[in-house]
Symmetry: C2
Subunit: 193 residues, 2 copies
DNA sequence: TGGCGATGTATCGGACCGATACATCGGGTG
DNA sequence: CACCCGATGTATCGGTCCGATACATCGCCA
């Protein structure tokens, strides 16, 4: 997943890890908490080894010539996507299996929707909707069965979850409708004040 | 985290792993996706080794006497919390560090709110609110800075995330108000139709 | 000048997921 | 009545990702 997200962000512009992490956290942040360096850097190395990105020494990273690196002189590294990386990105973006409908994966795919065709977008939106609807039904059933048997807080937690599901389904349905009518999300219907 | 969740569920009643997983998935499901056996069983073993739960052979699990186990004859196992386990549960439930305000941990703590005192509840609710507010501000700032510069889908994703944050903050504020007035969540104000 | 917060790269242990294997049992269908 | 299928049930393995931590530089302000 990180792989797709990183390639997509580097497609917009080259940058170093620190900036990458910031954008990963805020840009795609709706369905994921925060990316840690513990996953970022190993993934970057893997991407480089696969030939999908390159690492270049950034601006003032020049090693100070005769100064022997006490620990290890690390310079800034600018990561850049390669032609093969762009192909890989499109390949990952297009393949929409069942795991694409899970929270994180869906969020990442959605963020790069403008790079795909309408058919793929609809497929993913509808798959995600089905997934959230299943979850919603599960919660509804649990609530109707468990009411009275559970304490007030557990009940309230389930209600909150149910509410979030219903809300997301509505959101997805609006997006699907917009998509079918050939529009872009933004202010299509005019229900946002 | 799993540790607290498992102990809490076993406090309600003893059960085997399968049932445990189901309840973990639906009961505490608002802030977490689904628990996998890959984390459940190792955790159960760890809990048993620590003496916080016991494993007992369930009903019809009796080994068929002379039938040699071809692969390995596994019986049903009923997991049960011990006295030390109950202490451990209270200990885990009461300690509310910064990590308690993250999605998963908050959800688990909230589910067992009825086992804590009001002071702890308020501390956790307010900590969570602060956390979500930070996230909300980050998204607001990103949106106001990035508008026009980003494509429609990324923007829509951020708007959706912002909306979810605002909604949760409102939810938390209602809970905090209810808590301060000494009530229980349910139908306090009467804003749920 | 001295510290402190933002920027920046990197590793390690551990938590958790996803797929898979294996096994039993009840019910429906040919 | 035989057979298969889906629900129930225990368990492991590889891999992804997190959280804490270490280390280093730079600009700013007291």
């Amino acid at each position: 997943m990180l792989e797709l997200a990183i390639l997509g962000l580097l497609l917009r512009s080259s940058m170093h890890g620190y900036e990458l992490r910031k954008q990963l956290t805020t840009n795609l942040g709706a369905f994921r908490a925060a990316i840690s360096y513990g996953s970022l850097y190993p993934t970057l190395r893997r991407l480089r080894e696969a030939g999908w990105i390159t690492e270049e020494a950034g601006a003032e990273a020049a090693t100070p010539a005769e100064v022997p690196p006490l620990t290890s002189r690390r310079g800034r590294v600018v990561y850049k996507i390669t032609a093969e990386g762009k192909e890989r990105f499109q390949e990952l973006l297009a393949q929409a299996g069942p795991e694409t409908y899970e929270d994180t994966a869906f969020g990442v795919h959605f963020a790069f929707f403008s790079r795909t065709d309408q058919a793929t977008r609809l497929r993913i939106l509808e798959g995600r909707r089905r997934r959230v609807e299943e979850r919603r039904e599960g919660l509804r059933e649990a609530l109707s069965r468990a009411a009275e048997r559970l304490d007030a807080y557990t009940l309230e937690l389930q209600r909150h979850g149910l509410d979030a599901c219903e809300r997301e389904v509505r959101w997805l349905e609006e997006l699907i409708a917009t998509e079918r009518s050939g529009g872009q999300p933004g202010q299509p219907g005019g229900h946002r004040p």
